[in-house]
């Protein structure tokens, strides 16, 4: 147990969520007799959930800033139908269709952001209105019909990395990505260690980072192997790549940039943020607008995967995305949450969904179980907070999101001479009822 703690830095319980994810995978692998960890199923898992995970990325920022967005499913559907019709009737090529969809998402985002940020209407109301509005718009534009999309566009939602280079028996591009990731993991660890050395913090013994890197690399390589050896013509799915890129970009923004800081500041205490020079209206506008753009993207990926846009696309997506974000450790009151945490939350839901399907559970049972998981995950976190212990999910996810290296270094920083007990006492007392 102690070694585990050292590998993961600090408290093993911080890793509850990842542990839950791993446990779920192992459980289903066992119960389904090995059907879970197969190339085909993993690809399915990614393809079938990437759009929810993309929504979760935008949603977590919205929720950190202290808002909510109920309209994402309807926006996705509306953008999907407009793009599908534009490609069918105007004959525009698929890449222009994608651009059109993103632009439309931006325009919708400006509309919603305007009401939330500059008029000051609660996002719940604005996006509830949007949910009705854009669902109606989808059905009005598409006449409640299903509109097919061309093949190029389908690549977006159902495509795989192409086969290039020498015939190695594996998909070369997938291999490349896997190796690049492993290289990055090693680089990051070395860099983090160097930095920690520079600040002069105490470093854990060498075997700890080695074990950590080995473990992570093993997982990545295993996944790479799975994706690279699927049935011919398949490899790492395109939606997975889009998702991966978005996670990197948004984890970077939320964790490393001024804008990211400002989102957390506005959600944590809007007045204090404003008096520190944060333009909270602009921040609110941007997170709402960003959400709509990502919803547009998610809608197009879904349309690409299902080869056509229909009147009921995206129903209930907002709730799946919101659930992922809260399982991933965000706070209802804002100010807390991470991109990577939300992705993990989304994956937990996805694996549950997938595993239960493989087991032949009906939609009814699946819903019941998902509902309970959401409740239990958040209740567990709330209970821990009320006990004065750190929020497990919060801590877990704070250690991620790109800042892993420096964060960990800091938390193990030598504690300056323990100040008098009074400090500790204050902590307890300031816990006002």
């Amino acid at each position: 147990m102690n070694s585990l703690k050292q590998i993961f830095g600090g408290n093993t319980r911080q890793f509850g969520m990842i542990f839950a994810l791993v446990a779920l995978v192992v459980f289903f692998q066992w119960r389904t007799g090995g059907k879970t960890l197969t190339s085909g199923n993993l690809m399915n898992l990614f393809n079938g959930n990437s759009y929810i995970l993309i929504l979760a990325i935008g949603m977590v920022l919205v929720i950190i800033a202290g808002h909510i967005d109920l309209s994402v499913g309807s926006i996705a559907a509306f953008v999907g139908i407009v793009v599908a019709i534009a490609m069918r009737d105007w004959g525009i090529p698929w890449y222009l269709g994608v651009l059109l969809g993103l632009a439309l998402g931006a325009i919708i985002g400006i509309w919603q952001g305007f009401w939330v940020a500059y008029v000051g209407i609660p996002a719940f109301i604005v996006t509830l209105a949007g949910m009705l509005l854009f669902r109606g718009a989808n059905q009005a534009v598409g006449d409640s019909n299903t509109v097919p999309v061309p093949e190029g566009f389908q690549y977006l939602g159902a495509g795989y990395l192409p086969e290039i280079g020498p015939n190695t028996g594996y998909n070369n591009l997938t291999l490349l990505i896997g190796f690049a990731l492993v290289a990055f993991v090693i680089y990051n660890e070395v860099r983090g260690r160097r930095k920690a050395q520079k600040i002069g913090t105490e470093l854990p013994p060498t075997w700890v980072p080695v074990a950590k890197v080995a473990l992570l690399s093993a997982v990545i390589l295993y996944a790479t192997y799975m994706f690279a050896t699927g049935r011919p013509g398949t490899s790492f799915p395109v939606p997975g790549i889009i998702l991966g890129l978005l996670v990197i970009i948004y984890a970077f923004i939320s964790n490393k940039t001024i804008l990211g800081r400002h989102v957390y500041a506005v959600g944590g205490n809007r007045h204090a943020a404003e008096l520190s020079g944060v333009q909270s209206k602009r921040v609110n506008f941007l997170v709402m607008m960003n959400m709509s753009i990502l919803a547009a993207l998610a809608g197009m990926i879904f349309v690409g995967r299902s080869t056509a846009s229909g009147p009921f696309d995206g129903t209930g997506w907002e709730l799946d995305a919101i659930a992922a974000v809260f399982i991933g450790g965000a706070a209802v009151t804002g100010g807390v949450g991470t991109v990577v945490g939300s992705i993990i939350g989304g994956l937990v839901m996805a694996v549950l969904n997938n595993g239960l399907q493989l087991l032949g559970a009906g939609a009814d049972d699946t819903q019941i179980i998902k509902g309970l998981v959401l409740l239990v995950a958040v209740a567990f976190d709330v209970y821990n907070k009320s006990q004065g212990k750190p929020s497990i999910i919060g801590l877990l996810t704070r250690n991620f999101g790109g800042g892993g290296g420096s964060r960990k270094a800091e938390s193990s920083a030598p504690q300056p001479a323990p100040t008098e007990q009074a400090v500790g006492t204050k902590e307890v007392i300031s816990h006002d009822v």
Binding site: R261, A272, E410, E420, Q421
Partner: protein, 512 residues
């Protein structure tokens, strides 16, 4: 234990994981007395009161509590209230949208045949309000009366529960002088009717004025109990007990080096944010010199904060007219970022709701007002953030195990140091400090004063807004007085004293 003792807490020890908040604390309150509990922030006063009120139930602490001669074991607030112990918290527990009567009877509404008996409620409310000196309509909503009156409603609510021992936590912290006085008079009135009071307060002059005995708590231990009359206790004696040493002076020695005027506001007029024809700043003009500490005195509601915040990038109210000159050049500051860029900094009076993001840790707070300085390209440099925060932690002597600690865990004084660090990091020319020592204990106050003086010595201008006249008198090189949104006077250090200030703070320009 004699007959006159109403409450005795014997050897109370309360531990939190890793911390002993109270160790072997004993306190004895006589019937019909006002008993003050003094101690620095974090000394354990509030914890002790939480033990007494049952918030930390029996079994959660060790030690015994005797109330009216019998041992009691409260398991929650309800059971302590049933015994006649009522606690009134610093943050009032009233519901703003409900009426005075509804608040007073909240949780114990009298019913007749299952329906609330409003006649009885209103009649009783009137009686209770008369006892505390309130003459409002019982159906007035609580949000429509001032803080001072809300405090009285709380007491009326306690009286309705036939209170025998009333606990007041910082009762006058948010009140102005006259409301405070009224409250203190009321407490004496209750005392003469046989109701005992425990009062926690940082305002030593009030304690000296009203308390019969004082228990001093330091670092979770009860140090001593003083009897005000018998022992001839004065403020200095209390301070000595609280800090364990005598503070020669409550202000560090300081010789100002004052330069030329660099900041000037002329004819500043600002309207109320929601009431269109009301003015919160009426044609106000003032200036600040380099290296000068300028005090702003005024009663609560006089418009001090409104003035400061409207100057600070128009972050309050409707700007009507007026000019700001920095180094002789007129500037227009329309937003907070513009104000910060122009070299202004504003430390709010309300740390928790306006000054801090309580979810943040010390290091992110320290750099939050000037993130650009530690940003390279797009990336906020976290190493530099850590380094900067460490620097300020050391130079301001913030008491914390590490700058990774959350600001919510710090005491008031240390929180204030973090807020000061945040603004010092923006390297301002003019710091506006609104109630910089509110809710801060004596020792930390002394340190904050030292920081303020050091900032002035660096050639910065400092504006200090404060409700505590001794603080303004001890700190300022020059003091403006404000009354009802207008500047009514300007006094030099030599001219200023409590009386001259008070006169200008309460009267209009004519009589000054």
């Amino acid at each position: 234990m004699n007959n006159h003792t109403i409450l005795e807490m014997r050897s109370i020890t309360k531990e939190f994981p890793g911390v002993k908040a109270l160790s072997d604390v004993s306190i004895e309150v006589r019937a019909g007395e006002i008993h003050a509990i003094c101690g620095e922030n974090g000394a354990g006063k509030s914890t002790l009161m939480k033990v007494l009120s049952g918030l930390y139930p029996y079994g959660d602490y060790s030690g015994q509590i005797f109330f009216q001669g019998e041992e009691v074991q409260f398991k929650d607030i309800r059971s302590s209230e049933a015994a006649g112990i009522v606690i009134i918290h610093q943050e009032l527990a009233l519901i703003p949208e409900l009426s005075i009567a509804e608040n007073i009877f909240l949780g114990n509404e009298p019913t007749r045949f299952g329906v609330i008996d409003w006649d009885f409620v209103n009649r009783t409310t009137l009686e209770l309000m008369a006892r505390v000196g309130l003459s409002e309509d019982p159906t007035t909503r609580v949000k429509d009366i001032g803080v001072g009156k809300q405090q009285l409603v709380e007491i009326a609510k306690a009286l309705n529960k036939s209170v025998k021992l009333l606990i007041l936590d910082e009762p006058t912290a948010a009140l102005n002088e006259s409301d405070s006085q009224h409250l203190l008079d009321l407490m004496s009135g209750l005392r003469s009717k046989g109701i005992s009071c425990i009062m926690i307060s940082h305002k030593l002059n009030e304690i000296e004025q009203i308390a019969d005995s004082i228990t001093i708590i330091r670092d979770g231990k009860s140090i001593e109990t003083l009897h005000v009359k018998e022992d001839g206790v004065d403020e200095d004696r209390i301070i000595r007990g609280m800090v364990g040493r005598s503070l020669e002076s409550r202000f560090p020695d300081h010789t100002p080096t004052i330069g030329e005027t660099f900041f000037e506001v002329r004819n500043w007029t600002v309207g109320h944010p929601t009431v269109s024809d009301r003015l919160v700043c009426k044609n106000e003009s003032f200036h600040v010199r380099r290296g000068e500490i300028v005090g702003f005195a005024g009663l609560m509601g006089a418009g001090r904060t409104e003035l400061a915040r409207s100057v600070f990038g128009r972050s309050y109210g409707n700007f009507k007219s007026g000019q700001i000159f920095i180094n002789g050049k007129e500037v227009t500051l329309r937003s907070v970022p513009q104000a910060i860029n122009a070299g202004l900094a504003y430390v709010t009076e309300d740390r928790k709701s306006l000054g801090l993001n309580l979810l943040d840790d010390i290091k992110t707070t320290t750099v939050s007002a000037d993130l650009r300085r530690i940003t390279h390209g797009l990336v906020v440099d976290k190493d530099e953030e850590f380094r900067v925060a460490e620097e300020y932690r050391k130079s301001l002597r913030t008491k914390t195990p590490s700058v990774n600690e959350g600001v919510a865990k710090l005491s008031g004084g240390n929180q204030q140091k973090v807020v000061l660090a945040k603004w010092m990091f923006t390297d301002p020319d003019l710091l506006i400090l609104d109630e910089p020592t509110r809710g801060i204990d004596v020792g930390a106050k002394y340190e904050i004063y030292g920081i303020i003086q050091k900032l002035a010595d660096q050639g910065k201008g400092v504006i200090v807004i404060s409700s505590e006249l001794p603080e303004l008198l001890g700190l300022s090189d020059r003091i403006y007085t404000i009354f009802e949104g207008a500047i009514t006077g300007e006094l030099t250090r030599e001219e200023a004293n409590q009386e001259s200030l008070m006169k200008l703070m309460t009267a209009s320009r004519k009589s000054a």
